[in-house]
């Protein structure tokens, strides 16, 4: 009897493995959940980019719900998301702070913004990734939602589109504002 059971074991183990695999097929192993969720905005301080007066630091995060967007002129997906950010700015939906990440030289960022438009109310210059590392960023674009008390509530990886705005970001923003 025991022997019979032992012979069935491989089949059982395979079934368990298969269950994990099929569950795993829908997921993306590369996305890193943010450890910053529900924690205060990390300490950081970035100088302004060329041609601007104010930079960005963790002291800029009180009393309003904001988005922090990591971008770079070299980043193709940022270009794709850019028009949507401009829409948000035009409609005054929510203030967007920008972290200009890893530009090769100091004019690249400002030139890109001049060419395509500037959706950000505050921008920090981040050539050495100190800001990006503070936020645990792994690629661009990434966007964080921060609430009125300076607590990080959401991390969004990849470009913001109408779809994921409707599905995830907007509901979260509304919830925070209605508190």
């Amino acid at each position: 009897m025991m022997k019979r059971l032992a012979y069935f074991l491989p089949l059982v183990l395979l079934a368990i493995l298969a269950a994990y695999f099929s569950a795993g097929l829908g997921r993306d192993p590369q996305t890193l959940d943010s450890v910053l969720i529900n924690k205060k905005v990390p300490e950081f301080s970035l100088p302004p980019i060329r041609g601007f007066n104010a930079g960005l630091s963790n002291n800029d995060f009180l009393n309003k719900v904001v988005l922090v967007n990591i971008f770079g002129s070299w980043c193709v997906s940022c270009r794709i998301e850019h028009p949507f950010l401009m829409e948000l700015k035009k409609k005054g939906v929510i203030p967007i702070y920008g972290i200009n990440w890893r530009e090769q030289n100091q004019d690249d960022g400002p030139r890109w913004l001049k060419k395509f438009g500037n959706p950000y109310s505050l921008i920090g210059d981040d050539p050495k990734s100190r800001g990006a590392i503070a936020f645990g960023v792994t690629g661009a674009p990434e966007t964080f939602l921060v609430d009125q008390r300076g607590i990080v509530r959401l991390k969004h990886m990849g470009p913001i589109t109408q779809q994921n705005w409707n599905d995830t970001l907007k509901p979260a923003i509304d919830k925070l504002r209605n508190r």
Partner: protein, 143 residues
């Protein structure tokens, strides 16, 4: 011959580097060795199967410099690692820590070995009476 070389010759006891630039190398070699050791245990979050020591990614480079800056500021090895983990999570440790979630991982091989041992012993136990029989048969035949 004039030598304009920033050089460091290391006898490495484990893995290998190709991504570190001479410009990143710290002057104090004992600190540099610490930096390299820490870097080898931190996962590059962009090229996710390499350490930041090995990876060519820009972010890896920045993290390497960050590690060295923190060492220069006086952080202990653990403090440096804790800082990176506080930003990126346990995922960034190439050697997963021994805590709840990874318990199974670290003790798994031991458990597997034990189970295997038990199976082996059971297998040989089952053979014992048969061997006795064979010896008895041989003895009888000889008689």
């Amino acid at each position: 011959m004039k030598f304009l070389i920033l050089s460091i010759t290391l006898l490495l006891s484990s893995n290998f580097v190709h991504a570190v630039d001479p410009g990143e190398i710290l002057k104090d070699s004992s600190l540099e060795i610490r930096a390299r050791a820490i870097s080898k245990d931190l996962r590059c979050v962009v090229c996710q199967n390499q350490s930041i020591d090995d990876s060519d990614a820009e972010l890896a480079r920045d993290l390497r410099i960050l590690v060295r800056d923190r060492i220069l500021e006086g952080d202990s090895d653990q403090a440096v690692i804790d800082y990176v983990v506080s930003r990126y999570g346990d995922f960034v440790l190439l050697n997963p820590p021994v805590k709840g979630v990874t318990f199974v991982l670290w003790f798994g091989p031991i458990v597997i070995t034990l189970i295997g041992f038990i199976c082996l012993i059971l297998f040989f136990r089952r053979q014992k009476p048969l061997i006795q029989d064979l010896k008895k048969n041989n003895a009888e035949v000889k008689k």
